[in-house]
């Protein structure tokens, strides 16, 4: 039996045993966490082995119910996506050990571990699925298991609402995917992946757009991202980390996989992806700037990073359509590497947010402050995550964004719309990077620097050791990829070889470019450490006094004189006013001796209000007209059923 299947069995065992042993709380957690980590480790080893050894793709299939074949195949792309699935899931399991500490709710915790194991298994099966039915089945399994993970705190109304929103989006998305499969099946007549490339070009576009909408609603592409800012704050933090870090990437995988299978030749595909990427990237980060809840803010950053990934993939697709090998290789490699990088730093940031939530009880950034002193490890690893997500060297976000830039600059000799879009890609990448950096100076500045804004923040202490360890592991990897990017970039290049155009393209010739950049980054890091060391040395004999942060010479400074997140971001959000509606409520100062004054601002998500206005309201109105059908008379309900059966018998 193959290592991959053994790994999945191990994870399944870890999840299933939790349902049996939940009465012994500690034992259940130890068993669940250790077996899940073990299984993930094995799966990770297998995936890494698969991608670097370039062995024959692992294939396995079995008949199920005598109707269809459940078949799996791990090629380079699947293996590349398996890496974040297993790696992040394992670290998140480690994190959950202390994070899920409510002994009273042992049954709910056991269910959480069960669905967590199911989610890992289904995610890894989705990326390995080798026919339409297997893909659809595992996709549904993934959606449903993650829904149960989101509603862990089901006794809270807000969490249930978030769960329903997520459930609705995931099911509607699945319907779009199935519609796309229907288009494909109508022309191939089989569920197999092999014949898909042969369907007519016009059908390819329809099928691809349908699948794009379906996968996009999972991945959080603007304007299908609405569930993200609801579901992520509602779920437990390690679940948000896995969902935001890994699960939404499965949506990206769906797009990549079906792009590869459809093998389209038109430039339209790449242009579409780039436009979506620009919209998601810029608006995602702008909305994030306007949010005051740290997990909601991180959710919008997921939208932004999905935008960056799409930009990479779009550049790659344009390169393939126009025969630019370098552009294609760098675009795809950059997009894929950013999948891995984002899964690492986004999980790290969610872990940090979870730690803050656990220690202070609030996720509102304007209630926190000065936590760098009280939670040194969480603060510093959060800072590493922030630098990575902003795409700054020497961390990993820089490497993948650099690859995308490199690919985009190679596309500047294209003509027409492709040229404009390539230009826009470069510009929006720069804009996104700058805004993301601004957004994280806001988060880090408000949450970790300054003085505590509330009692809870002032009393906070460092979180549990396992939580810190899991954050440190991820922070280390952020730095590792930033300084030694070679093996990771090589993996991304190997995965991008699945594209026929790049099959014999020697992309490895570019690796020295990257190692040079990495060397500069390492030099920078060494310089930084050196200066820090010298500073320590110079100050060693001197007296160091400590006083309140930003005292600014006031004799009676209060913590309320500090910048708030809203005021910091206000001018930047204002710039994007046509796309970002800001609702402000300000009571104003009208008298000479002002009394109590209130101010609140709320950034509205344009796609959410648009969807409510143009889709939800009309549907509710129409359905309201049909209310008379529900009269409560059972006999007539049976009549409906009979009528339906008769009508179906006659017409079908």
């Amino acid at each position: 039996m193959d290592t991959f299947l053994i790994a999945l069995l191990l994870i399944a065992a870890g999840g299933l045993q939790a349902l049996v042993t939940f009465r012994a709380y500690l034992l259940m957690k130890i068993l669940a966490v250790s077996t899940i980590i073990g299984g993930c480790g094995l799966g990770l080893y297998n995936a890494v082995n698969q991608i670097f050894r370039q062995v024959e793709p692992f294939v396995c299939s079995c008949e199920w119910l005598q109707i269809f074949t459940f078949s799996l195949k791990i090629d380079a792309v699947s293996a590349f996506f398996l890496i974040p699935v297993f790696a992040i899931s394992a670290v998140a399991a480690l994190y959950s050990f202390q994070y899920m500490g409510d002994k009273e709710r042992s049954a709910a915790t056991a269910a959480n571990y069960f669905f967590y194991a199911l989610l890992i298994i289904s995610m890894s099966l989705v990326v390995c699925a080798d026919n339409l039915i297997s893909f659809a089945l595992t996709w549904e399994l993934m959606s449903i298991s993650s829904f149960f993970l989101v509603i862990y705190d089901f006794h809270k109304q807000a969490v249930r609402n978030a769960g329903y929103i997520y459930f609705f989006f995931t099911q509607a998305g699945a319907l779009f995917i199935f519609a796309g499969f229907g288009c494909i099946y109508a022309h191939t007549g089989s569920f197999s992946f092999d014949a898909i490339a042969a369907i007519p070009e016009s059908v390819k576009l329809t099928a691809f757009i349908l699948i794009l909408i379906g996968c996009g609603s999972k991945a959080g592409i603007m304007p299908f991202h609405i569930w993200l800012p609801y579901a992520h704050p509602a779920a437990p933090s390690h679940i948000s980390a896995v969902m935001s870090g890994v699960m939404i990437k499965i949506g990206i995988y769906g797009i990549v996989r079906f792009y590869l299978l459809l093998a389209p030749t038109s430039v339209l595909f790449g242009q579409l992806i780039i436009v979506l990427g620009i919209v998601s990237g810029i608006l995602g980060v702008v909305y994030a700037l306007g949010k005051h809840d740290i997990k909601r803010l991180l959710a919008y950053h997921s939208v932004e990073n999905i935008g960056i990934i799409l930009l990479g993939l779009g550049i790659g697709m344009l390169g393939v359509a126009t025969g630019h090998k370098t552009m294609a290789a760098f675009g795809f490699a950059g997009g894929l590497l950013h999948v891995l990088n984002h899964s690492i730093f986004k999980s790290l940031l969610f872990f940090g947010a979870g730690g803050l939530l656990r220690q202070t009880g609030t996720a509102a950034i304007d209630q926190l402050g000065g936590l760098m002193k009280r939670m040194p490890f969480t603060g510093r690893s959060f800072l590493v995550g922030s630098l990575s997500i902003s795409g700054l060297p020497p961390f990993n976000g820089f490497i993948s964004e650099f690859l995308i830039y490199y690919g985009a600059f190679h596309g500047l000799d294209l003509q027409g719309a492709s040229f404009i879009l390539t230009n826009l890609t470069i510009l929006s990448l720069a804009l996104i990077g700058g805004l993301a950096a601004a957004c994280f100076t806001k988060v880090v500045g408000i949450v970790f620097l300054g003085e505590a804004r509330s009692e809870a923040a002032a009393q906070a202490s460092e979180t549990g050791s396992l939580i810190i360890i899991s954050q440190l592991i991820l922070a280390l990897f952020c730095l590792l990829i930033g300084i030694f990017p070679e093996p990771f970039v090589r993996a991304a290049f190997l995965a991008s070889r699945s594209i026929p155009l790049l099959a014999d393209f020697d992309s490895m010739q570019f690796l020295p470019v990257l190692s040079n950049i990495a060397r500069t980054a390492a030099l920078f890091l060494i310089l930084f450490l050196l200066i820090a060391g010298i500073r320590k040395l110079l100050y060693s004999g001197k007296e160091i006094t400590q006083s309140g942060t930003w005292g600014c010479g006031f004799t009676q400074p209060t913590v309320r004189m500090q910048y708030t997140g809203a005021s910091y971001a206000d001018s930047m959000v204002d710039f994007f006013r046509p796309f970002v509606r800001v609702q402000k409520k300000y009571s104003g100062i009208n008298t000479v001796f002002p009394g109590k004054t209130t101010y609140s601002s709320h950034v509205q998500d344009t796609s959410e209000t648009g969807l409510t206005l143009f889709l939800v309201r009309p549907i509710l109105y129409l359905l309201g007209k049909l209310r008379w059908m529900q009269h409560g008379n059972i006999q007539l309900y049976i009549g409906y059923i009979v009528l339906a059966i008769v009508v179906m018998l006659i017409f079908i």
Partner: protein
């Protein structure tokens, strides 16, 4: 020649019509028991390729036990325990229901003839018509009676019809019995569940009148 199966089918039809006409719950339950026995006996008298085998007899005995004894007994108890007023309470009158049943027979014969099942022997065709009538009558009972308990009886009569359709269309082979056994098991469970539901309805509303359940809509 009057075949014994024709007599059986006629009896089933009569029981169906009577069940539409009967105004007492107890009479309805008794009719159901009678119908159950008749329906179970149908495979015995049909012209089969293998003749009467040991399996067939075993199956017949089990069917009689479930359809003719066990389920009617459960219903009998339910009527005794739950229902105070043992009137059927129709929404559409008895004579109108009876007339609907007669129309149902005509409709079933029409449907059977239009299905063009040429390879089916004659008595199978008659059986199919009876089966469809039984099913339709069950539906009429479901739709036009007010008490929840008549709904259960209507459902069971409909199930009798479904069983007859299976017998009419399927070849009398081993696998059919396997399927029917499974259905039988489902049936018992369904009756038990419906019994519990009946009890709960009775507890909540102090009656088994389904019009009261209209309050549950939002």
């Amino acid at each position: 020649m009057i075949h014994i199966s024709n007599i059986l089918l006629a009896l089933i039809l009569l029981s169906v019509l009577l069940s539409l006409r009967s105004n007492r719950l107890m009479a309805l339950v008794e009719l159901m028991a009678f119908q159950g026995v008749m329906v179970s006996a149908v495979p015995l008298v049909l012209e089969t390729a293998h003749g009467v085998t040991f399996n067939l007899i075993l199956f017949f005995l089990l069917l009689v036990l479930v359809k003719g004894v066990l389920i009617p007994w459960l219903m009998y108890r339910a009527v005794k325990l739950v229902v105070v007023d043992r009137e059927v309470e129709p929404i559409i009158g008895y004579n109108a229901s009876l007339f609907a049943g007669l129309i149902m027979i005509v409709f079933s014969v029409y449907v059977t003839n239009n299905l063009h099942l040429n390879m089916l022997p004659m008595d199978h065709k008659l059986l199919l018509a009876t089966a469809i009538t039984t099913m339709g009558a069950g539906l009429i009972l479901l739709m036009t009676r007010r008490k929840a308990i008549t709904q259960v009886i209507g459902y069971l009569i409909m199930e009798n019809g479904i069983y007859l359709i299976g017998t009419a269309l399927a070849k009398q082979v081993h696998t059919q019995y396997v399927v029917e056994f499974a259905v039988l098991l489902d049936l018992i469970v369904a009756v038990l569940v419906m019994g519990i539901v009946l009890n709960d309805i009775n507890h909540t509303f102090d009656d088994v009148d389904t019009t009261l359940m209209g309050q549950l809509k939002d």
